[in-house]
Symmetry: D2
Subunit: 383 residues, 4 copies
């Protein structure tokens, strides 16, 4: 009989959006139980959140430090197998460090850290401890995104010439000054040096890189703060030169009225191009110079093995955001199962790693630097 | 601290599609644990399925009869709070009867029973036992379907004139004779008197009724068996007269090449019309004679309270099939929690009941009768 | 140097919608000049309309009878080469008869005649006179409809199992009683025995037959008059048995709130299915059981020769209603050029003929008969 | 009786794409006759083209110089009222100059001239001669583009923050070296200093400016020549700072596999945003922060007067490229009618003028300069 993994959570208390998403993603497939948590830096809120979640009060902690310490004392099989970190950005690093060094595997929300230095340090810690570290760049969990990557890998698109990735949102447009203050993403002390590019531009960057494998050489970033009184940008447009000559464009915005979360990416090659939109995630459109467009649809027999492996339902019964998010958890769980049972990690793991996190932070760093210097072309930092 | 509900399952062994869906729907929100099951009429297959699911072997049963008997012996709080029935149609009734009469609440897949007589008998049992019975007409779990119903209720569409509901599939088209034999839905001994209308036509009927509240007065059904050697129809088209003068059309097909699961419904009223497609479930289009079309999108502040109540994610982060299915479980769980704790059931419950099941079976019965008599107009049977 | 054809028009005076469409269709390609007309049964309105159109006042006639007589007196090369008939239905036959017998070719709007008897009589006249007669079932002029027919002819779809054709409109829903009176289509003395099916149901029928070549054997029609005080139906739903075993559904409506003119057709075969919508006419979607959907788009090198022949613009520069309508005129003009120059007609002509008109009227006749008799299955009349 | 205008044409001989489009646009509404032309710099080809078009051989000229001279000798009412210039870019200026100074009105294809100096000189000539000059930035002829402009003017979108305009094409991707040589747009001696931005980037620029009224202050352009052996860019991405603080992005490409002509524009304001795609030109989507999206559709009673004025068909009967192009001709014709009859020009004319042409050439000039200098921010030149 297989064993269900035990998860702890740091952050994700009452009313936190992303914590609830992580929990549903973890629960969906019936392979992970949530058994412990430090759900808030406010101990009372943590306690209430634990109660909402039917968690044994003894394992609801007042701080992540207490959680590391106490869980480590529990016998193997009872203590958590991994922790899920769903706090604001500035807390990612210390929590991840504490748990990794305390002997725990980690699933962490993105962007990975507060700044590039922390990212590099975290990479060292992951390497040193040998623990599993998964970063929830969740859009790469969509089966049709994996299909897109397979197409590029197989050469269906020929040589890649151009990548256009967008993430338009409108939620930071119509906010009052009061609401403004409560948005931690606009606080440089919590969010880091960037809001829009750090929060969603990185998703666009990650998505393009995941599908194409292309690495950015240099970029030119135009940041704008449209709403007065903000310290960070709420809109960013980037031109990109990839290594090897391909070109890219990343458009991210949080002030685009009425846009929701239509992360989308177009990849243009010498033989064909592809287009994917997360608001219609079950379809992947491929366009050819000399043949009818094709719509690849999740769940069909003709999709690649990797897309099939991350599919739960037949075609036409749509899967969506939570399922894609759960795919990150499923893969991380495969690695964690191996780790906790002392086996070698599978060699076909497919989830974002600490290296993706470092690249994401390098991207943010370069973008901020370019924008601050008046949008000059800026090389990606060495990492 | 709230308690998680304990679920048992009958059917849903290895390789069964719908059983896996029910489990994900139950797990998604972290409020239900699967703790027991008779997963197959084959005891060994049941045992292996239980092991896959990390279920205590003592609670993996060789038959549903054993399961009722043994679970009933367990103390309250330990025994299952409800059973989920995910077998072929002809087994629904005896299993439901056994568990209801054994004191358990029931969630049951559709169509509810093998025939109308069983449906009426089941309704009596539900009434007599006072247990919760939920039927998984899952499409009514979609938030934008609930929004559609609200629009009709509020009168946004005026008086309803016409309903067109379709469920086109192609999966029964390209099957070999060998595969054909294995499809229990084509076996009248398991499926009942209808395949296409019983399996998916009822979804279309249920969806139209859920949204509009209209009851069918009489119908005219044209059934076709396109693939030779089949005993049941693989395609059905129906004209409908609703009570009160509205008209309807239901088109269901299992031999429509390349169609997946695009259940869809259009409702035409004197003031406006609406259109919803399950393959794009987060949108609801409303058309007006004299104003721009409007696209209502799940997760926005402007949707009705009922749509909000069944929503987990912000707008633009799509929800889909499993989430809608889970909404049926969430509502059933609300009722079951009350039932097992001896409280009165909430009066705002929103899930398909045994009465919906009876109406569905009456619809199938009338359709089969009309089709057999050469497509004459046939009144809905009294129930 | 090629000669431009000379066209006359009967009907189509100021404010008439369809007359203006016919003129644009005739003018678009610079091969037809409008030189004469009896634009209204009201002589003064005819005169003003002629003036609007910069037509020589001597050739603006007070009646169609005068027009036949006077034009026939003009020398060949100066007199009209053909007449375009754009009057209400009840006038089609006498005008067509007069011009055909007067030695003129005819382009005529649909439905072809007031009733089936006239249609058969007209067919005799066309055969006897040997003149060109083209019926403007304009939707068959769309290149992607021609592509669809080619696909069926080539066997891409396998054996055709099912055809679903719809024509939903809403324009007759929100009219006042006053407006109601002015709508000649609702007047049985002008429109014939049917409104909705006669006006738009025939388009759906024609479209399905053009693409598939299937002939109706029998049908079952449910007509409804939703708006009080009308003598004819404003909504009709039909089940169809084609010769050879295929099945069909035709849904036509004029009271579907907010629907515009989305004539659409789906054809299901044993190998693939196709779908076309006139509101997005440049695309033709083909669905397969085991391969990605394909979107065929007008103007691409991969489309068939027949689709190319009726295309004016490169792909992506959309063509639409007027261009499709003009394709009927272009083909009729090819025939008329041959006729007036005494040459044999090309054998690859592709426009709706008097035979299509007879079939259309037979369809209307059968539908009306079925509806009147309470929706019983009715054979298509012999013609 | 109104008089039909007489048009001459320079360029547009056999096989020329855009000449045929201009003719259809001129003919569509029956208000313009083509009566003369110098259809090719090759006199024989010009003669044959004239014959194809049924034009009096005496008015088919061997050169545009001969055409100006001879037409000027004809009496008013017989000579052409205007000339349509549809040659490659480098010939626009001399032809336009000759006809304007010869006393003729001019309709001219875009980009207006070979370079900015010519553009400024042409503006002077237009002002001096007082003749009508219309530039066929045809996408502004679409009714729903006019509706978009009205929305912005009325303030429906609030203050404009951001404009994203794209024009992706793929037709220059899969060409052989041989074909490459024949593409005059890639020849700097004919096309000017830019290919991609000059040909289609200007359309995107013009579209954004037409709708929003925003003027570019500075831009940063990244040009790429993906196909070897070309002298001009086949792809360009631009970041834009508008006067007053709004931001913009223009993406144009001719090497985007499978893209056809989906010019599209999104405009984001503080209250709402809009989106329009030329491949679905009858719809205009408006998105709001707090209300359902609305789809405005051409031909409906609720659209603005300006959109209605440029509409020929009821809603749902799609209009497309030729109709939009014809709208430029219709408006130019209104001006030309006034000019040739000595009346004052209407003050509500709505077609692109010589001033738009100057701005377009200034845009190209700035973009080329930015790209050549390694994508530095470049101010728009004074004009």
């Amino acid at each position: 009989m297989s064993r269900r993994l035990k998860m702890g959570m740091v952050g994700g208390g009452r009313d936190a959006f992303i914590g609830a998403v992580h929990r549903m993603a973890a629960w969906l497939d019936g392979k992970i139980d949530l058994v412990a948590g430090a759900f808030s830096s406010n101990p009372e809120k943590s306690r209430l959140s634990g109660s909402d979640l039917s968690i044994d009060p003894k394992r609801v902690y007042a701080s992540y430090q207490a959680m590391v310490e106490e869980e480590a004392k529990l016998p193997a099989g009872e203590r958590i197998d991994f922790v899920s970190i769903v706090t604001p950005n500035h807390v990612h690093f210390p929590v991840a460090k504490a748990f990794l060094e305390g002997g725990f595997n980690v699933v962490c929300d993105k962007p990975m850290t507060f700044n590039l230095e922390e990212a590099i340090a975290l990479r060292d810690i992951v390497r040193k401890t040998g623990k599993v570290f998964a970063l929830t760049h969740n859009y790469t969990g969509y089966p049709m995104v994996k299909e897109a990557r397979e197409m590029v890998r197989r050469g269906d698109l020929g040589r890649i010439l151009k990548v256009v990735a967008e993430y338009p949102q409108g939620w930071l447009l119509p906010v009052s000054e009061e609401q403004n203050k409560e948005i931690w993403r606009m606080d440089p002390a919590k969010s880091g040096a960037s809001c829009c590019i750090g929060d969603i531009g990185t998703h666009a960057e990650n998505l393009g890189r995941y599908i194409t494998g292309l690495e950015i050489e240099e970029l030119c970033a135009d940041f704008t703060t449209f709403v007065e009184g903000r310290q960070l940008e709420d809109d960013g447009s980037l031109l990109i030169h990839y290594q090897g000559g391909a070109r890219g464009v990343i458009l991210a915005s949080q002030i685009s009225a009425g846009e929701e979360n239509d992360v989308n990416v177009r990849v243009y090659g010498t033989k064909a191009s592809l287009e994917w939109h997360q608001e219609q995630p079950n379809e992947l459109t491929v366009k050819y110079p000399d043949a009818p467009r094709r719509s690849f649809r999740r769940g069909n027999p003709y999709v690649s093995d990797i897309a099939k492996r991350f599919t739960r339902l037949p075609s036409g019964h749509p899967e969506a955001f939570i399922e894609a998010f759960a795919n990150i958890y499923l893969e991380a769980a495969r690695a964690i199962e191996a780790e906790v049972s002392g086996q070698q990690l599978p060699n076909d793991l497919d989830f974002p790693t600490v290296d993706d996190g470092v690249k994401g932070m390098a991207f943010i760093t370069a973008a901020v630097q370019s924008a601050k210097s008046g949008c000059v072309w800026t090389k990606m930092p060495k990492t």
